[in-house]
């Protein structure tokens, strides 16, 4: 009895040792500091949402992605992409790219109706000095606003035309020339509703609202929908080690209208 107990203790020892080692390893793994994100290099920030009605019905999904340098002292550009997949099969891509590598800083927005391959590219630029850096960009953007261009598959209004039409008339010119596109943007805005300053919606909807503001389109009523977080991810995104896409299948449904770090190529 005593020998058996003795033998049991000795036989059990390796197992206990193994268990002890496993516990120590688990504790060390848990205590290991997370890989610090280099704030001076770009990161890929992605969030996947479901758009749900008040009754809980899923109305669509949104993949919001940004490529940004967290430290403003090292930030020279910001890229954002919002991909909408609605339950009726419609897909919308919204891009923005702010490039402040040199003066003037160039800010571009691209709205794409993926199903019809219709797009609207807007670009604006504002001069700033290198010393002002990213922090000075806001001030610079408020001082001088120049509409540089509108582009659709049929319409192109650039700086030269601005003198012909007059800068203040450009939204009117656009509205008259592209009534279907204006209706599409307004339909999209009505679908999503006006911003209410609630969580998540800002990134997802505010850029569409900005474009509508530049085109001087009328306001729409607030939204009845909410965003439900599905998952989010953050990863370093540098040329030597690009971050992987959070949902390649979701992106794949957008075909040629998917791009990362820069706007997709326009035209055929």
């Amino acid at each position: 009895m005593s020998r058996r107990l003795h033998g049991g203790v000795w036989l059990g020892l390796p197992r206990r040792l193994a268990l002890f080692c496993a516990c120590v390893a688990a504790a060390l793994w848990a205590a290991e500091p997370k890989k610090a994100v280099d704030r001076s290099k770009p990161v890929r920030l992605e969030t996947l949402y479901e758009i749900v009605s008040k009754g809980g019905e899923v109305f669509g999904r949104v993949l919001q992605s940004s490529r940004i340098t967290l430290d403003p002292a090292f930030r020279r550009e910001a890229f954002s992409r919002t991909l909408f997949q609605f339950s009726d099969g419609n897909r919308v891509a919204v891009y923005s790219h702010l490039d402040a590598h040199q003066s003037p800083a160039v800010l571009r927005w691209l709205l794409v109706d993926v199903k019809r391959s219709e797009y609207l590219l807007l670009a604006a630029e504002f001069p700033f000095t290198e010393e002002q850096g990213w922090a000075g960009l806001e001030k610079a953007s408020g001082q001088q606003k120049t509409f540089v261009s509108f582009d659709t598959p049929r319409l192109r209004i650039h700086r030269e035309e601005e003198q012909t039409f007059g800068a203040t008339n450009l939204p009117e010119v656009f509205q008259k020339a592209e009534p279907e596109f204006v209706e599409w943007i307004q339909g999209l805005r009505r679908r999503l509703g006006a911003p209410r300053g609630e969580s998540g919606w800002a990134q997802v909807r505010d850029r569409i609202d900005t474009v509508a503001g530049l085109l001087k389109l009328p306001d729409v009523p607030p939204s009845d929908f909410d965003l439900k977080l599905v998952r989010r991810a953050l990863a370093p995104d540098v040329p030597e080690a690009p971050a992987a896409s959070m949902d390649p299948e979701f992106e794949g449904a957008f075909g040629k209208w998917v791009s990362w770090g820069e706007l997709p190529r326009l035209g055929k």
Partner: protein, 94 residues
């Protein structure tokens, strides 16, 4: 001397209150309050969880954009800073 004290005695409370206000707040000025969040301090330094940190980013963005001081281009810049704020939160609490 006693006359001077008697003359200022009715004002003493008010003078002390003003002195307290000046001494109680830092010389750098008042922190800009946004629903309880300080817009001049990074959200990850004020929050204790990922959820509260992301909430702070949203509130700071809302305060900036819906205050009426942020124009159409400023809004885009505010959105990029909103992104960066969320990235900082995820790096700190993720």
């Amino acid at each position: 001397m006693g006359t001077i004290f008697r003359k200022f005695r009715p004002w003493a409370g008010r003078i002390l209150t003003v002195c307290f206000v000046f001494l109680a707040f830092p010389a750098g000025g008042f922190a800009e309050d946004c629903y309880g969040w300080d817009t001049t301090t990074a959200c990850e330094a004020q929050a204790s969880t990922l959820g509260s940190c992301l909430g702070c980013c949203q509130m700071v963005y809302d305060c900036r954009v819906f205050s009426g001081r942020c124009g159409i281009y400023c809004r885009e810049i505010a959105l990029t800073e909103f992104d960066a704020c969320q990235g900082d939160c995820m790096a700190a609490f993720g």
